[in-house]
Amino acid sequence: MNLRRVETSTWIYLAISFLLIFIPFIVTGRSMQFIFIQIFIFAIFAMSYDILLGFTGIISFGHVMFFGIGAYSTAVTLGRMDATIGSFVLGAIIALVIAAIVSLIVGALTLRLKSHFYAMLTLALAGLFLVLAEKWRSVTGGNDGFTFSLPEFFRDSETMYWFSLLSMVLIFFGLRRFTRSPFGRVLMAIRENENRTESLGFQVTYYKVLASVVAGVVASFAGVLYALSLRFVNTAVFATDLTIDVLLMTIIGGVGTLIGPIVGAGLVEFAHHWLSGLADVHWIFERWIILYGIVYVLVVIFFPLGIVGTIQSKFMNRPVRALRTNRKSDGKKENRKGA
């Protein structure tokens, strides 16, 4: 990982982003563009998850709560106000602010709770948000949800495409810088060995909370885009399934790589689209989730680093990190916790 290589990869990513700009001229159908938009949105969502899972080593089962917060904030604001850019911006700001506050509080709980306990807590919190969305029907329309209209600017599918693409690219480079900053290095250290990080003089608390806030805010922004792309929102944006989806994307793509979640999002969305489209060919494709599940299990066993992670470790001689924790020491850590 020397300076020069970083630069080449940056150029490659920029080039790919540049090429993606022209997709709408080739793929003119809104439905295909819609798939791309979804990929960009879920890539953003998955990258935010990667910050937690891959870089800080925090498993959350409730990451969808921030996504939902983003989606509902936007939808409610646009639904209640005129469909103008102004209300969109307001909605987005509300989304980000709420997400920041919630993630600050939730993140602070990582101090008390370790690994699966934290995971379960976030699951519960996301569940509570789901209940809130179902119950607060005057605002959310209950689980059927509601539709709203978009500002003129976003109505065009191409605009939406470019806007999502731009967001994804900016967020990618932003997060990449974030993870490669001295701060990001410390996050990785925390993932590896929290106690040790502390005794090196880093205040672990702040790092974890800030990572959680960054992840929450980015996820919320993905939710904002999601609501825009769908022009509709219902309680599904708080469903645990979404967390699972985004988890799968991150894992399949490769945790701790940032580019992995993007690849994962693309792959999962396209695989979904094509496999389910094959339902006429053979009934098994109607049950495409089986294939999906099997592929996923295989990936975890044989390519625990995900696609990007495996490529990096095989061909670029990068040190293998991420999920491959030393099994023995992992077990021992458990002991100490029990003590």
Binding site: P182, G184, T197, S199, L200, V204, R321
Partner: protein
Amino acid sequence: MTAILETKDLSIAFGGHVAVNGVTVEIPEKKFTSIIGPNGAGKTTFFNLLSGQLSPTNGSIYFKGEDITKVSTTKRARMGIGRSFQITNVFPNLTVLENVRLAVQSKNKVRYNIFSHFKHYPGFEKRSLELLDIVFLKEKANAIAASLAHGEKRKLEIAMLLALETEILLLDEPTAGMSVEEVPAIMDVIRNIKDEGNRTIVLIEHKMDMIMGLSDEVLVLYHGELIAKGTPAEIVENETVQAAYLGGGV
């Protein structure tokens, strides 16, 4: 001679077992103090209390006259108390270089910078490599820490501790499991630090020749209590110490 670290009646009990029992001691500044004592005497626990990994059930700790009994591990590390661990405690999945670089980064107080690239600090890498060189680990700079042999991990520990450039170095059996050939070399590293004369070193060791060769003062812990204190020569002569610790043969 001023004391940089001071404990007053320091005790800690685990359940019913008192591991450190009313230890009152002054660690003189810029001197080399060694702690010896049988296995389970409470040496590591004493270090854990000094560095903040554990908090005492009783008593207090002073650093440069300031009460730090309630100060967190992190803060103490920043104030200048650095330690190495008896059980190797490194970042297993990061490279050796990255392990040290994290310590260097902390030393240079680059902590919350989220905007610049970590490569913008080439000095860190250079410094890390220097340190690795000192502990004979330079060739392994790009190896994953988990793949190191036991002795190599001990060296990495030391490099990380040195990187922090803390005023006090608490070394917990730094040479345990290190090969006969390299013990003297590591001793030299430690001696050099000592000779620079501006650090306080506290060492836990079972290798008496090291203790003898390096220490200005030796503390003896026994069943959690401080039972003797003095120059190496005095301690070796001390009969209680001989019976409880040294035994006959070696």
